[in-house]
């Protein structure tokens, strides 16, 4: 027969065990070191403007799955292949339709969130995925073995696996960005080649999607350095209420969304 004392100890221990998983988040596993770097890249997307743009495009083309200028520019810039089969088609940036409780529909761009505590980098067996000092989470394709742990770890589903040689799905190639090969995982890099080139030349960097958005006249996407208090993005983050995707996970994503006002 179990004694009362022993019973209470067991109940207490199981309660503590049940609580434990709740305490673990990407933040508690990630390093405690504060980001002291000069630059920290981030992006803001205005959901209202994105929705407006997508509604116009769908009305104009009549195609529910039309690719807006940002996605087209991203695919062209980063040599993202296009395959007929939707299950294996790699996507770096995509537009997703959301519905809120009142039945209103939104179109939201989804891309790699470049988390402060990236779960994908934490699980990477070969340390192919890593976070640069300026916050960009990058995949070293030379080291990637295609185990797809990162795809399971990523809470945003922003990674794609190359089931086929991506060159089969390319019609033109941008020489500045390497294509990928069969068996590696790829994702948005915030156009890291553009960022490095612009910094070397002393200019303000602008990823392909942001450039396309600006040229299309929507100005929904804003890219910039959040460690610089005078940058455009810092002002937006200070003045507006922005939302992050799944902030409760402790990943601290650096793609912010301006909700519908």
């Amino acid at each position: 027969m179990i004694s009362r004392r022993r019973f209470l100890v067991l109940v207490g221990a199981s309660a503590a065990m049940a609580m434990l998983p709740l305490q673990i988040s990407a933040k508690s596993i990630g390093s405690e070191a504060k980001n002291e770097a000069k630059r920290r890249w981030a992006m803001v997307a205005d959901i209202e403007k994105c929705t407006e743009c997508m509604r116009e495009l769908i009305k104009k083309t009549g195609n529910e799955e039309v690719k807006p200028p940002c996605v087209v520019a991203c695919d062209r810039e980063n040599n993202v292949p296009e395959f007929e089969e939707k299950e294996i088609d790699p996507q770096w940036m995509r537009i997703v339709k959301f519905k809120n409780k009142f039945g209103e529909e939104f179109y939201v761009p989804l891309l790699c969130n470049h988390c402060e505590n990236p779960p994908c980098a934490q699980v990477c067996l070969t340390q192919a995925t890593f976070k640069r000092s300026d916050g960009i989470v990058e995949v070293d394709m030379h080291r990637c073995i295609g185990c797809r742990y990162c795809m399971i770890a990523c809470p945003y589903g922003s990674r794609s696996y190359n089931f086929k040689d991506p060159r089969e799905g390319l019609r033109e190639v941008n020489p500045k960005v390497p294509m990928r090969t069969k068996g590696v995982v790829e994702k948005c890099t915030f156009c890291v080649h553009r960022v490095d080139e612009a910094i070397a030349n002393g200019r303000e960097p602008e990823p392909a999607c942001v450039e396309a958005c600006r040229k299309y006249g929507k100005n929904s996407l804003v890219f910039g350095n959040v460690n610089d208090p005078n940058s455009g993005i810092s002002r937006i983050l200070k003045e507006s209420i922005v939302i992050q995707l799944r902030p409760e996970l402790g990943t601290d994503p650096h793609v912010y969304y301006l909700p519908k006002r």
């Binding site: 640069r132 000092s133 040689d165 019609r171 190639v173 500045k176 890291v192 490095d196 910094i199």
Partner: protein
Amino acid sequence: MYHKKYVIPLIVVFLALAFSPLIYNAMAKSLGHYPEITKPKGECVESAEWMRANHMLLLQEWRINAIRHGAEGGRIYHSFTYGKEFHASTNTCWECHQDKTVFCDKCHNYVGIKPECWDCHWNPSLEIPVR
């Protein structure tokens, strides 16, 4: 010597097999043949002699610096021969070496090496779409 009539012919057969590449090349008049590569215009990032021996190490260094330390200016390479700055990318190579088939492939085929660089990286002889 025991089993003379077996051992000596077998030694001769063994030597003939071992030297067969040499004999084949001597008969095909390609003995002492080296691949002829088309000299590119312009100067390389380092001296030609150093590059001949160490180009793979240089490319590996570029790769690590550009990807891992890109945020700290890793994409800029300082040449120790000429003291100049170069953009660390395979595209920098293609500015002078304008054809892969007459430069890289010549030597690599000669020594039987198949680098995997061009599975992903762009090169001027690339054909798209790949079937």
